[in-house]
Each structure stands twice: as structure tokens, then as C-alpha cells.
Symmetry: C2
Subunit: 519 residues, 2 copies
């Protein structure tokens, strides 16, 4: 484990990584953090906060870029360990490594550019009646030390130096990572890359720590620590809601950003199915099978109107499903949960199996396409629950009214997709307001896997997709989760932070008396 | 009560307003909402949402201005009823009425200007390798129907058509107000002004409803209703935390913006006390006695270094306290709580009474200044709790280290103030980072009462000042509480909302490929 600049062997129990492909353990053993170790990491984080948050934007940007460079420098050692710990293909891990570095570099740009501070100035009006208006200046400051939970399904991009860590560090928050036990070796490598960047950039050591825990107790204690002021989590609904409860029950409740569960409905409108049903079926299977179906944006629900175009689509999709190879899943308990959930679904009244893919022994997924009628799905909410893996449920709807009813019945989602042609425009117009209310991202004529890291991305959505729909966990807007506004009234110039000083020394976009500009 | 365009007499119990000055009841009786009435208001709000949120910005702006005009048109009937129900002076209510109208007009400007939508566009890069970048467009949409709780201490500015309602309506959210039982007559007048504006602007009736409840059950049921997506509350810590629990325990947890309790520490640095102690004492008492001490920004804690300049200040302040007239408090239970809390404070070991103001019978406040040493306050957190009314505790500190320790020990605050001269700059520099972490607004050489409604104001802060420090409940940034981002990917031009269309038909500030501008 990494506590500030120290390397520490955890002594509260021990565990080791498993190779999901072979089912064998991987050396070395890792130890869990004791309460004292956790305490030390939290104290260091708190002590570093005032210094780190006021580092020059250029320094903070260079820090993020140094992390990115250090991660790329890990080279094959990182991808090899990643393949062993996760069963994911090498090319995928190489892509994810590049994405992780690019994400850190994008946040470095965001930090340098500085508009996340959102300065707002209001001129003193000393002669206003009945009372003068004071000099008011607002900036956004970081909330404080942040706890980040690594996710099993993205060992790099949503883990130790992933999006939560990058955006929290960019905001000016120290980070304590609870690394995921499914990839401790990868976590150690990446964590060391961050730790080295802290040292080489001359930052206080408490800016970054990384801990392991053998069970959920460490994560619970981390969220409960009074020095922690926000939480980033990507994982299951059970895990996320447990942390939400802990965060709410603290003597100082804090905000938690949990990205949890989503079935990512895909609406197949009749014009699109008629025009290019077979191509849609092919693209659907590619999305469904990506990463053995272990994406939070996996298309778990297809919704379409009954008719010959749907029957043709089902035939085409079923053929693709039957041709789907079994793929190694991340960890054995995810595989077991997938198998059990799939059996349960298949046994439910009103659910039929359209097709299954290759079945293999060991920790391997079997792709599946199930079918049910909208009436069945409307009557039993369990059919709308996320099943983590490459299974999708196709829902037949009698007519547009029933399709809309089904859309209205959905829980909050990360994404909603619509396949349409010009002939479907009227239906799409009816559907869009519903989807806007349900999802953080609405996409057309595509599938939801593949989340662009950019300025206009939203990876969020109403509960249970996330714990707070007003934020995104991917893209540059993710920084906002870790900022709060502070107003400075009649502040002596000597005490004003640079971002709020007269003459705009940092050259930031600022809103002055209600108008945006560079003054 | 007002449910959409209907006037409804509540039948779940009844209550009447009390004149706190005379202790007598005021006609007419008001009735509480039944569960059916609440349900009807929530259903109407939900039904109106998709239409209201997509009304033209000009229409929504005109709606807010119509409300402002209708409230001003209520004329003397409003202020007279206000004086009777609250005991506040007529001039104060006239000022608050103007502030309420100005606030609605400011949000009308915000709506017309449209930058709260924060559009972000990212150009399609079809030839990017390995994968093309999709066309991505982000806008902010309203979260859904909002529940607003009126506050007793601002019967206009933080009540039926106050800041929460104005910012939620500006965001595009229908509002259901749980009116405060301390001023039902004022609430009815203002509610009717809003209801008429809904009709005259041709908006769906569910955009606004206003309910009464005889006890806390109605508010609890309102927050628990699945159609409600956010809550604005101004009131006590007990009330706010109760609603936070209800919001967290829903099957779909929602965000609640509760502005609760703050003692608003004022640091009196030695140079300032030496230079102008008597003037500071005068300004302090004016702030303390404002509205009979019933401001959320009331200066409840003074903190200073021991020394002759402090003794001189205490003498001057004590004289001002002794000259303070008793003033009618809002409701008898607030008066009783103030009297009981003050007695308890005075009886605590280590607390001495520097001076008391005029004492009068009936529901009238008695100003009080108490003194304790920092050691006493550090040892007993109860001395840092808010006592709603015109009492303040002055804390003597041995040295700067102890003063900083005390500052670090503070809970979250709405404001923190520093009185200083050039000679105090070093001390102020040490103090500012602590105060930035503790408060939503830091002010210099002034007192915290008087919250400017403007672009750069923050009326917020870490718990228990509010339930979520990342937002403000006053000023134009308050609109952000009720918005969430949605990303549109590869969306056909016919389906794009105007704010995201090519050519920028609404002329909004938009961030395109990371750069702000008008394209």
C-alpha cells in the first residue's frame, strides 16, 4: 500500500489476485490496511489540503501530466499484469492505458485553462440607495480530501488513476484510493506512478495514498472518516447504496458520487429495423459482447414494436448470438452471479430464450438474448434489473402507447439509445422527452458502449444509474463534483486569490457584473 | 390552498395565524392538505413538467416578471397582513417585498440570457482513428418537480415566491410550496399572485401549487412523493436533517437543499479593535438586533485576542446591548426557545453575562452579550450551537494559536467575518484558508446580515450550515441546484433542442470543442 511517500505492507488480513482464466492465484500476497494506517492516510490528506489546493495551476497541470507519463512508462509490465488479473485482452488494456493517460492530460488542460474556477465579480456600488452594494467576488474551491473506489471492470480508466482520481486531483483535492481487490498488482503499479509524480512535482505527500482492504470494512471506515469530504465510486448498486447510507449517517453528511447500475435501453424503431435490421443486429452484438458484457453501458434492454421487421431482426440477432464466443469474465463471483441471474431470468414466466452463444467451462461468459412481452416486463420490475454480463432482454411492444408506457416505467439510466430513420421521426419526438428525464446520455443510431472522454460527455443519470444526477463521472464536467463556491466580500486586495484579483492576472474567463469576458 | 388553478379548503385539521405582538389569533382559519390533495398537486406538477421545461426562455422570463408585478400589486394588504402575522416592522416588510420582486426579475434576466443551460458542443470527427468521435452536445435540463418549504423569518424573500421558488421556476421546474404556518395569510396572498401569473402566461396549471399542513406529516409526505425530484428548505437543523433522512430513504433518493444553522463567527483582530472598536461595537449591535436577531446570518459568535483593546470593545458593546430595545419575535415557540436557550447558556460554567438589553413581557426578545474563554468553548461544543435570536457569545483567546484552533474547531458556517487593519494582515492571512474551508462567504470589515441577491453571492456552506456545500440558495447561481446535464450523441438536427442547434439560434454562450464563445 502507499501512504503518502511510504510503501507499507498491510497487516489486517491478506489476499491475492486471481487469474480468472486459469482460476489460480497470483503472487504476491497483499495485506489490508489497519485502522491506524487508514487514519494516517486521512491525516496526511487533510494536512496537505491547504497547500495543494493553492498550488499554481501550471504546477497542478504538470502533476497530472507527470502521472500520465509515468503510467505510460510502466510499459508491458502493466498490461501483462492486467491481462493476468482481469482476463481482458491485451489490446483492450493497451487502449485503456492510453485512455487513462489521455484523460489525465485532458484534465491537465482543464486545470491550466482554469475556467472550472468559474470566477464571478461584482463591482462595489458605494452610492447605491438605500444600502451600498459590497464588492463581491466568487470562486470555486475544492471540497477537501476525496475517497475514490476502484472499479473491477476498468482496472485503469476507472481505478487508481482513473476519472475520479484525475478530476479530484484537478479540482485541488487530495485523494485516498481504496484499490479494488480484483487487480491489486495493477493498482500497485499505477499507485506507484502517482506517488512518484507527487514527489517529483514537489507536492505534499498527503496528496495521494492507496489502501487495500480484505473486506468492505475498510471502505466503510474510509467514507466515515471526518476528514473525507466527498466520495467517488463505480460499482454495484448494493455497494453504492451501502456507501450512500454511510455518507448520509456521518455527523457531517457528505456527498457521494456512486455510478451504479443501468440497463441502457435501446429503442429499435420500425423504420430503422426495416431499413437496416441486420446491420443493427451486428452492431448490437459487438456492443453486447464488448469486455464480456462487463460495461456499465452494456445494452441490456432492447425495446421494439411487434411486426415482421422485428421478427427479421430477431433472426439476425439470434444468429449473431449463436456465433458469439465465450469470453473470460473479470472475477469468479461476477461469473457465478451472471450464470445464476441468467438461469433465473430464463426460468421466469413469459421469458423465452431467443439464442445463446458458445458455452465454455471455467470463468467464461455465455452470451444470451432473451425475449419477453411488454406486459410481462411492466408487471415484474425484476426484468428491468441489471444483469452484469453479455445478456440482453428484447421487449416486444404492442403499439407506440405501450412502448411509451414501458419507457416511462424505466428507472434512471446512464444512457438511452434510439435507432431510427426519417419515417420514425414522429415516434422519436414522442420518446425523447421521456428519455431526457430517464438518462444522462441519449444517443441515436448507435450503441452506448464507448464513452468519449470530452467536454460534452455525460456519464451520469438519475438513481439508480448514479447517486446524484446533477453530475457526470466522465468528461471535463466531472471536476464539478469536487468543487464548492465561496464568496469573498469587501476583501482587501492583498488577501484575494489570484483568480479574483483586479486586472485578471491569470487571464481567466470571468463573469463580471453578469457578463462573461476576459476582464 | 392552491392546487393548480383551483382554490381548495384543506380538511386535514385546521389552524390560524397568531399575532405575536398581541398573542391573539388572526382570522380566517386555514385547513391542512389531505393525502389526496397532496397527490393531486404532485400529479399536476408531473404532468406539467415536459411542457413547462420546454417553454421559450422569453415566456418563462415573462412569467417570473408577471409574478413580481402581481406581488407588488398586492400593495398594503400584503404588508399589513405581514405585520400582523410576523411582528416585523412595516418598513422591513416593504423592503422584503421589493427584494422578492427584484429577485424574481433577476431570475427573469437569467432565464432570458440562458447561460444557465451551459451548452457544450463537440464536433463529429468521422476520420479519427482508431474510432471516430461522435457528435456530442450537452445541455442542462431541469430535474423535475421541486418541493419548497417556506421559512418563518422571511415571509416573502424565503417563502412562497422566494429564492427557492424563483430559482426552481427559472430552471424549468414546477414547484409545490409547503407554506409556513406562521404566515398563512401572507402565503395565500403571494400564492394567489403566482397562481394568477401561471394562468395569465398560459402555462400548464401544475407549474405551481401551495399547500398547508397542521403538522410535519404533510412536509414529510411531500418529500417522500416519487414525483418530487428536489427540495428547497430554509429552517432549523432539526427540520432540515429530518427531511434529509426522508430524502435519503426514498426508493429513488433525491437531493435536498436545506439551509439550516450557522453562528456566523466574527473575528475581531487587534488592530481593528484598537483603531475603531467603538464603531465596530455599534455596527455589531445593529447586525445582532436586525429582525430581532432572527436572521440566518446573525452574528452569534465573536472571537478576539485578549488585551486592552478587547476590554474597551466589550465596554462599548455592553453599553450598546443595554440600550437595545426589546423587539417582537416571529412566533411564541421561537421566543420560548430563545429564552430557554439563553438561560441555559448563562448558567453554564465559564460563561459570564457582559450585558443584557431591555426586557419586556410578551413575545419579545431581550438582547444579550455573553463572554467565555476559548478553553471553555473548545471543551464544550454546545457553546457553538446556534441560538436563534439576538444573543452573541464573545470568545476570548489567549493568542493567535488558540484563535486558529478555535477557528478549526468550528462547524460549517454560512459566513465568517474578519475585522482587520493593515497591521492585522499577517493574522488574516493565517485565518483565511481556515475560513474558506468552513464558510460559504468570507467578509471583511462588515457584519454578515444583509445578503446581496446577485451573481457573485454564496449563501451556503458546509454542513450544518446547509445539506450540500456545493450550492448556494441565494443569488443567480442558486438555479444550478435544480439542473442536471444531459448529453445528446449523434442526434438528428430535427430532434435537437434549440440551445444545441447548429447556428446557435438562441444566441447563447456555448463551449464549442472546449472554447467558450457565441458560435
Amino acid at each position: 500500500m502507499l501512504i503518502g511517500q511510504e510503501r507499507v505492507a498491510g497487516t489486517a488480513g491478506s489476499f491475492q489476485a486471481m487469474d480468472p482464466a486459469s482460476g489460480t492465484g497470483l503472487a504476491p500476497p497483499f495485506g489490508g490496511a489497519t485502522p491506524q494506517m487508514l487514519h494516517r492516510a486521512c491525516v496526511l490528506a487533510e494536512e496537505s489540503f491547504d497547500t495543494y489546493r493553492e498550488t499554481a495551476l501550471a504546477t497542478r497541470g504538470a502533476f497530472l501530466e507527470t502521472i500520465a507519463g509515468n503510467i505510460l512508462d510502466l510499459g508491458d509490465a502493466l498490461t501483462e499484469r492486467g491481462v493476468a488479473e482481469t482476463g481482458l485482452p491485451r489490446a483492450r488494456l493497451e487502449g485503456e492505458r492510453q485512455r487513462t493517460a489521455d484523460q489525465l492530460r485532458l484534465f491537465a488542460q482543464v486545470v491550466r485553462e482554469g475556467s472550472f474556477i468559474e470566477p464571478r465579480l461584482e463591482t462595489l456600488l458605494s452610492s447605491r440607495r438605500p444600502l451600498p452594494r459590497p464588492d463581491l467576488r466568487l470562486r470555486h474551491v475544492p471540497v477537501g480530501p476525496v475517497a475514490v473506489f476502484g472499479a473491477s471492470n476498468f482496472p485503469l480508466a476507472f481505478s487508481v488513476a482513473g476519472g475520479d482520481t484525475a478530476s479530484a486531483l484537478a479540482a485541488g483535492c487530495p485523494v485516498i484510493v481504496k484499490a479494488h481487490n480484483a487487480h491489486p498488482g495493477v493498482s500497485e503499479l499505477v499507485g506507484t506512478a502517482v506517488q512518484r509524480a507527487v514527489r517529483d512535482c514537489g507536492l505534499p505527500e498527503g496528496v495521494f495514498s492507496m489502501l487495500f482492504g480484505v473486506d468492505t470494512a475498510l471502505g466503510a471506515a474510509l467514507v466515515a472518516d471526518p476528514r473525507i469530504k466527498a466520495v467517488g465510486f463505480t460499482g454495484s448498486r448494493v455497494g453504492g447504496t451501502a456507501l450512500m447510507r454511510i455518507a448520509a449517517e456521518r455527523s457531517e453528511p457528505i456527498s457521494i458520487h456512486a455510478e451504479m447500475s443501468s440497463v441502457n435501453p435501446v429503442f429499435l424503431l420500425p423504420g430503422a429495423l426495416a431499413a437496416r435490421g441486420a446491420a443493427i443486429a451486428k452492431a448490437f452484438l459487438a456492443s453486447l459482447n464488448l469486455g464480456a458484457g462487463q460495461f456499465c453501458t452494456n445494452p441490456g434492454l432492447l425495446i421494439a414494436l411487434e411486426g415482421p421487421q422485428l421478427e427479421a431482426f430477431i433472426s439476425a440477432a439470434a444468429a449473431e448470438v449463436r456465433g458469439s464466443a465465450a469470453a473470460t469474465m473479470l472475477v469468479s463471483h461476477i461469473h457465478r452471479a451472471y450464470e445464476a441471474g441468467l438461469s433465473q431470468l430464463c426460468a421466469m414466466a413469459g421469458v423465452t430464450v431467443a439464442a445463446r452463444g458458445e458455452r465454455a467451462s471455467g470463468c467464461k461468459s455465455q452470451t444470451a438474448l432473451l425475449i419477453a412481452h411488454a406486459e410481462t416486463v411492466l408487471a415484474d420490475k425484476r426484468l428491468q434489473e441489471e444483469l452484469f454480463g453479455p445478456a440482453s432482454l428484447l421487449v416486444r411492444c404492442r403499439d407506440m402507447a405501450q412502448l411509451r408506457e414501458l419507457a416511462e416505467s424505466l428507472e434512471g439510466q446512464l444512457t438511452a439509445a434510439v435507432h431510427m430513420e426519417a419515417a420514425d421521426l414522429g415516434m422519436a419526438r414522442q420518446l425523447l422527452p421521456v428519455l431526457e428525464r430517464k438518462a444522462g446520455r441519449v444517443l441515436f443510431n448507435g450503441f452506448p458502449t464507448g464513452v468519449e472522454v470530452s467536454h460534452a460527455m455525460v456519464h451520469g443519470g438519475p438513481y439508480p444509474a448514479t447517486s446524484d444526477p446533477r453530475f457526470t463521472s466522465v468528461g471535463t464536467l466531472a471536476i464539478r463534483r469536487f468543487l464548492r463556491p465561496v464568496c469573498y466580500q469587501d476583501t482587501p486586495p492583498e488577501l484575494l486569490p489570484q483568480s479574483l484579483q483586479d486586472g485578471n492576472p491569470l487571464g481567466l474567463w470571468r463573469v463580471k457584473d453578469g457578463r462573461p469576458g476576459l476582464s
